[in-house]
Amino acid sequence: MNKPKELPNLAPVTNEQRYIGMSEPRHGAKRLTEGLGKYIDDIQLPKMVHVVYWRSPVAHMKIKKINKSAVLDMPGVVAVIDGQELATVCKPWVATLSHLAGMKSAPQHALAIDRACWQGEPVVAVVAKTRAQAEDALPYLDVEWEELPALLDMHEALDSNAMILHPELGDNICFKRSLDTGDVDSQFANAAVVEEATFKFGRHTGVTLEPRSQIAHYAPDGRLTVYHCQQAPHMMQDLYCRQFDLSESDVRVVCFDVGGSFGIKVHAYPDDFATVGISILLKRPVKYVADRLESYLSDIHAREHIIKGRIAASKDGEILAFEIDDLTGIGPYSMFPRTSAIEGNQVVNLVGGPYKHKQYRANLNVVFQNKTPTCQYRGVGHPIACAVTEGLVDLAARKLGMDPLEFRKRNVIPDNAYPYTGVSGIKLEVLSHEQCLSKIEELMDYPKLLEEQKALREKGIYRGIGFATLIELTNPSPAFYGVGGARIASQDGSTIRMDPTGVITVSVSVGEQGQGAEGVFAQIAADAVGVPIEHVRVKTGDTETIPYGGGTWASRGAGIGGEAVLLAGMALRENILKIAAHLLQMDVSQLTVKNGKVYDRLSNQEKIPLSEVGRVGYYRTDLLPANFHPELTVTRHYSQKDFPFIFTNGVQASYVEVDVNTGFVKLLKHWAVEDCGRVINPMLVDEQVRGAIVQGIGGALFEECLYDSQGQMINGNMADYLVPMASEMPDIEVAHVQTPTKSSLLGAKGAGEAGTAGAPGAVVNAINDAIAPFGVSTFDQPVTPQKILRALKVIQ
């Protein structure tokens, strides 16, 4: 049971700690259980019109002529807008980052002009008074087009004889990177064991249950308000200003409830700009809600990689070196503004990450192709790097005849070795691999499981146990985007205001998409100020009222946003005490705030409630000294600058049964030990970890955007694109090791993505362990029954 449970508490960070570290329910989520959420499609505005997009029906085409007359005659149609018209208000963009040396991409327009480069690229907007009218009208739009040859295969993109998708770029390579520690070849030459495999990762996507949606409202006074389900409202505000030449003071982005994000809603999509541009042209509110078919073709995809990997190990079971060659296809354009080279770059940084080997070589090619653009989706590179590393680790352990858990214990970077620089150059502040491995061994009762596996195998039942040790980058510094020129804030802020009755309003630049950010901010604020959590109101999502900040991505919400809340709350508490000290004629050091009241610190005697501090602070400042000004609103910001990233670590284990006759996999159980530093709310972290694991399992077993030979996605709907459902998923046991980061007072690291990072590696390793008696293995995700039967040579 996911019973609210408490962890052994670390030393408190606040004077009166009641909530941090506790499984406090998310009070703000009550309305979501009552059907009272407010998602974009729930909002109606006066004079609002609805847009639907005519999207490219093929992977690559020349746009010859757009005939609008028939569609303009349809009932309710207000406007039909093409790329040329939209380009009169919206500039094109090129998504590159300067710190990824040599990266290139081509200019991209909000609506395609002259040429469309993937099936689903928006070309023409049809705007009508109702959504139904817009959809009724769409088939009457007559676009004359000519199909062009499509570049789909990643290997072909590298061929010097291949068509070049953007001739002006010279080749089809968006980004390439090589890393070599120098002595790789001799390690492989002298190793007792060298194992290699080819790892394939199917392109998949996030499938947020709420599709991407937006209402753009450009008012006749020149002010733009965009209601958006988005993870980074300030980033979007900045982009709208730049692409439409508007002032920040005239652009407001507002996020209400967001129905799932997972990275899908952190990018700037062509139709985001188109919808805003249409509102500017029409000067009225325009609503766009993607339908599910559009979601599959226009939401970013991720993870299409083919990686050749090798591992070298000594006869004593010491890992000597890793080598990888990664090829990844990202669609026709690098995605704006975070770019599509980050995922591959992360793979290079992270392969071999948990281990202490000294030699590593990596080669990466990121290539263009005529498929939906890819970009950052939950885990970003980690699930790939982890599956490759852990797959190779298992191959080496098996060859050596060594237990895979024991092999990992021998090779992880020891807990006392930190700070440590990983072989790829990554800086690791402090990790706990050894503790995590011991804990998972105990949690899963590994020896008993091994016995069970052995006994069942004799009866022809093939069960497997798979491990995945992982590292995960969280709490990024400006090193992620800022240094590369992307205007995405790495810092976040919080403003806390005490109102006259003593309740507090906490506004934070990190928003809520379901993770529980607002819940943990309430916990932190309540403890930092010293008020009951019922007296805390949290507000996020509106660029007009929140401090400037980065938002939700790279597992930074709790660690960075939470630290800003902590600092603001502590500062407000000091200001409250200064007022109280005047009123009570005592010294600040003699007083404390708890449970909404000021107490004498030594005698623990209740002195005055915060409502009295508020009453005087706001209405009777005449009672305070002439030169003293009460400050009951405080803003603090925080940015992590000690390390490029604060890495977390963990280990997962999967227990599966493979039916060797049908290839079906039954997931029996999954365990995760996670070290995300200080756990602010164990219940929320546990369910973050579980949700992330299930998304990782989706990629490992089910999810893939399937394309035919013409570049048509053939399973772009919820019936054919498979995601994990409740009955296929196992119970997932989660445990924690808490190693706080010293880069902040709170000590919290990110927790939202590690589940996705480790699950595919653990599950695929478990499957391969189950079929190991047949001397076969498969590393081709999603590992479908067909692929298992093919590995077992049951089918061709």
């Binding site: 329910p25 998310r26 996030g206 499938v207 249950l209 599910r292 579980r690 459902m725 009955s727």
Partner: protein
Amino acid sequence: MQTTSITMTLNGQKIQAEVEPRQHLVDFLREDQELTGSHLGCEQGACGACTVKLDGKIVRGCLVLAVQANGSTVETIEGITASGEYKDLQEAFLKFNALQCGFCTSGMLMAAVELIQTYKTATREEIREWISGNYCRCTGYHAIVDAISYVMEQRQQANK
């Protein structure tokens, strides 16, 4: 477009409305009746976010036309909330963090309500099977199973 007159008992209230014959029940509820608690995730009956009750049985609001509900009783999450009959279930979803973004929650609760009405007890596997028509992309399902299981146990004990 031509409209048809329909009547229904919606969350306990008798209503009369003019609808286009092609309008889906969930669009009628969301757009015409301003009951936005039922959500649209796929419009093809796959995701379950639009689950409502029609004459006592859960249906996909996107696969039923409003005209098909003529003369029927329709109940949505808003009606369930107002009745207070499943307050324990709604509270358990919070207590166990059985929701994250909340987009699936209304449909998930409607499915859970029918499970509780249909069976007195259910194993975790049976609960998982029952809610397998409802997508949740956030939670990993574990906490949803916990919450439903807890409510069924509590109700069992209360009836002893």
